[in-house]
């Protein structure tokens, strides 16, 4: 495929992600920090997010499965997940975390369980999409092109 075709696909795909709220302006900010001296910055940060999130989701699952639910601990985990999703621009994940923390405050187990389900779903969705976006990037680079900037979404 030609470079500009790939670039257009990348832009269209990215636009969709922003439009559907999977990503917000913070993701574009990350891209701005990527340059020749740090060509994999976004990939590195996103990879950290994946690792971090999977660990947290696992911990949350265990914590909510206990006889006596420790809401403080759960809140701490969700706070972390909210922070990291916010830092990479994973807007929908972040939004579920906000609701999740409210249920923690209310000590509402059912609400928390629903949020956990939801946040897992949103996480999987954004992970899939970010991986697809990354593949498009890699194709562009392999074809000798530059990755288009996503400034319009700042």
């Amino acid at each position: 495929m030609e470079v500009d075709q790939l670039q257009r696909s990348f832009l269209e795909y990215s636009r969709l992600l922003f439009h559907e709220g999977f990503l917000d302006g913070q993701f574009s900010q990350l891209q701005l920090l990527q340059d020749e001296s740090n060509p994999d910055f976004v990939f590195e940060v996103v990879s950290l997010f994946f690792e971090d999130s999977e660990r947290l989701l696992n911990d949350l699952t265990i914590a909510l499965d206990q006889q006596n639910v420790d809401f403080k601990k759960i809140d701490a985990h969700v706070h972390q997940l909210k922070g990291s999703s916010s830092s990479i621009g994973a807007q929908r994940v972040k939004n579920v975390c906000i609701a999740f923390r409210n249920f923690c405050d209310e000590q509402n187990v059912e609400g928390c369980l629903r949020c956990l389900q939801q946040v897992k779903q949103e996480y999987l969705l954004v992970k899939t999409k970010l991986e697809a976006q990354l593949r498009l990037e890699q194709q562009i680079v392999a074809a000798g092109g530059a990755i288009p900037m996503l400034n319009e979404f700042c």
Binding site: V45, F49, K82, G83, S84
Partner: protein, 189 residues
Amino acid sequence: MSGIVTETQFHVLAVDDSLIDRKLIERLLKTSSYQVTAVDSGVKALEYLGLLDDEDTSTDSNPVSFTKNHHEVEVNLIITDYCMPGITGYDLLRKIKESTSLKDIPVVIMSSENVPSRINSCLEQGAEEFFLKPVRQSDVNKLRPHLMRTSGKREEDHQPNNVVNKRKPMEECMSPDRTRTRYNDDLEL
């Protein structure tokens, strides 16, 4: 110190328990050509700054953190997360401002939560700025005046910046050091 400031890089100490946020702030600071040391806790920050005098257990720390002689560590600004396990960013701020040797180092607080009382207490405690996370390049750009102010070009230069900085303290009762020039002129207060 003479008014001559060399082009050596400013050194910023970044404190955040989140790996992602540490990576982010480090990158942001480096794009502004600052030298960065990033630590993951308030305790490690205090250790690095030489404010912990009991620890000999710095097995994995760099040699400069041997605590007694803090002058080996030259830090021009500290930027710290507020919510951290153990010592919070606020506690760290207080300890720095209570230290005779370190109180002049500008401290900036970052937080994911927009809590006005939190922001006010940090500013009252002497924080220069309070950034809401996620921190952006435009936030980091605000650091430069604070760094320039303590670079050796104290009262002589940067008058406009000094005036702006010092007007705030009169309203918010900040530490006397930053209002030194001003209060010398307005002794009646």
